[in-house]
Symmetry: C2
DNA sequence: TGCGCCAAATCGGTATACAAATGATGGCGC
DNA sequence: GCGCCATCATTTGTATACCGATTTGGCGCA
């Protein structure tokens, strides 16, 4: 246990980030109970910041409060993935349409840069490239939403997307499918350049629904392409003991 | 200060509800700072539940945390109304489409009942009818979303709609416009009966965008209909002293 | 041997005490 | 007289102690 806490950052935020990271990383079993005291000793802070963190996580939907006021890690199944992709398709296509119609040249160029980086990442395929692709993909979608300037829309999508999903999702794509995905990103960028909101929205919708199809059915017959599988998991070191009980 | 606290309900939840009510009711000036100590003494609870309440309210977007870690009541203007109606149009039409395609007869009947009650409320126009109409309207939209069974969608819309808006919105409608609004509700119900998701989605979209137009431009030339204006406020009894400062 | 009740421990909810940081105000010096 | 610095007050962040409720395990009785 580190004696020198990082006093620079608020401890409540640290606790929030750490607990969130653990949940998203899958360190905790779904439905496993989280006790404030346990997390408190685990993180080396008192129960108060842990409580604040759990409150925020509950609002995010990452933990649930059972009737007996017991807090457990949220569970989800196929229906949740269905919901998430459906909502993303609706919201992100809406956002793409808005953004494309009003985007500045600078914003469009930013998307172009991201596409460029993606191409390079694909071409190079250095160790860890899957993680980089995931990051770039998230960045692209985030940039599109940011371009709308619609803070509420951004928060809405953020509250949905941030789930132990995105990680594994990319893994379901074959390289061929990844190339197609990037091609769609390029098309969206082009729609931005033409200020064609309808086109942008349409592509974004297809893009996400394609992702849904691949995530749900693409596992069966992957063209695979086995790269170094460790690269997919950004946190390889052995984790702390799992949930209590 | 009441000595006999209602120990039955959790104090944090009470604090959340009360602070939320005050914000939505407009008791606090937009951008006015909320101090934990002040709310604590106001509500008769300690700072801890107040903190929890403020955390939740921040997640809801009803309060904002300024850079200097000062918490203020969220401010909004016309652009927020624009955002909200736009998102409602997208999300609720999506929900209506989903729900209509899968709705049970019982769910459709529930909508029918609500339409019936609306007709009666309009015909009677008893004191407080505007408040009742507001409640029925909210209930209708909530029922449609509930019929989707999409918990995430429900939460998303809830996080947007619950805003110091709905109250005043209804006031902007003329009676003629209210009748039209209910007529659209009836059409949505009919679409449910026919399991016509596309139709339902389309009506819902028009319905909400009409609401946007009335809210934004309908104030200028209202056919008015001045009823007792107090009826609009569902909490008539003199509440605790207003915001500090 | 099984069922039920009681007791003890565990955990979440609340209050409060304390520390750290930030903003304001007043005084002092130039 | 103006500006800067120091001190103080206000407020948030954190820790901890206490209380009530719920659950669990054991013991006793049928």
């Amino acid at each position: 246990m580190p004696a020198d806490r990082d006093t620079a950052r608020p401890a409540a935020e640290t606790a929030y980030d750490e607990i969130r990271r653990r949940i998203v990383a899958g360190d905790y079993e779904q439905g496993s109970p989280l006790t404030e005291a346990g997390l408190s000793t685990d993180l080396g802070v008192s129960r108060t910041p842990v409580r604040a963190a759990l409150t925020r996580l509950a609002a995010d939907g990452l933990v649930e409060q059972k009737s007996n006021r017991r807090i457990v890690v949220a569970e989800w199944g196929d229906s949740d993935i269905e919901e998430i992709f459906g909502l993303r398709a609706v919201l992100e296509s809406y956002g793409a349409g808005l953004a494309a119609a009003t985007a500045t040249t600078a914003q469009t160029n930013d998307l172009e840069v991201l596409c460029q980086k993606m191409d390079e990442a694909l071409a190079a395929q250095e160790p860890g490239w899957l993680a980089e692709v995931t990051a770039l993909n998230n960045e692209f979608h985030r940039s599109v939403l940011e371009a709308t300037g619609n803070r509420r829309l951004i928060n809405l999508v953020a509250s949905i997307v941030e789930i132990p999903l995105t990680h594994r999702t990319i893994g379901a794509y074959s390289v061929r499918q990844l190339e197609n995905s990037w091609s769609e990103h390029r098309s969206i960028t082009e729609a931005f350049r033409l200020r064609d909101g309808e086109w942008a929205a349409s592509i974004m919708r297809s893009h996400i629904l394609t992702g849904r199809a691949i995530t749900q059915h693409g596992h069966e017959h992957p063209t695979a392409y086995e790269l170094d599988p460790l690269a997919e998991d950004p946190t390889p070191q052995g984790k702390q003991k799992g949930p209590r009980r």
